[in-house]
Amino acid sequence: MSSMIVRLQEERFEPGSLQSTLFDETNRTGGLVTFTGYVRATDAKGIPLKSLFLEHYPGMTEKSIKGIIKEALDRWDIESTCVVHRVGLLLPRDPIVWVGSAATHRGDAFNCCEFVMDYLKTKAPFWKKEETEEGVRWIDSLASDGDRIARWDAS
């Protein structure tokens, strides 16, 4: 039985301690792949970022992430998966998201981590708004994120 941890929180998280928690979930892990997403220090034009606000849809966001993980579990042999995503007001260089997947073999862990992260970008209800000295603006979704999803659909 594969374990699954999904957490949304305003507080900072420590990637190292999350990795230890995930590793301790089972004693069958032979490979553990993690991804940490951070707030960039500048916007797309290179202007220093003051803050990043992350809005979500309480209830649906958690459900969507669990659905994405379940889909990954159908594809690969995974021991445990963890997604921690922050919401609310974040500062430049803050960690935003952490995805970890543990498996008996590394191939499954690599695939699961990347799949969950790719789907999370476009299928979980989060919206980013960034603030610079030029003002506040909602971030548009990227076509390249959709391309990454299409790649999994084709595989």
């Binding site: 809005e55 649906m60 998201v97 992260m117 209800p125 708004k129 909602w138 548009d140 979704s141």
Partner: protein
């Protein structure tokens, strides 16, 4: 009655987080709800709710425009997601 939530840029443009709709007659699908709202609250709502990239969910699951709705459903309209 149904409840319709708005998120992200759409929530700010409409200046509304949610709205209740009591009279569901002639509102058989989520697209009919969208059209009803776009015609009921002036040009800002009309323009915002007619953007082609709006995502719609019913009971917290993303659906297509022709999805039927029922009394008690929770709808949401929002822009494409930008998480991660």
């Amino acid at each position: 009655m149904i409840k319709v939530f708005f998120f992200g840029r759409l929530r700010e443009t409409l200046n509304a987080s949610s709205i209740d709709i009591s009279d569901l007659s002639e509102l058989a699908t989520v697209d009919k709800v969208r059209i009803h709202l776009s015609k009921s609250y002036g040009p800002i709502w009309e323009e915002a709710l007619n953007q082609s990239n709006i995502v719609i969910s019913v009971n917290q699951v993303v659906v297509s425009a022709d999805t039927a709705i029922q009394d008690g459903d929770e709808l949401a309209f929002f822009p494409p997601m930008t998480g991660g």
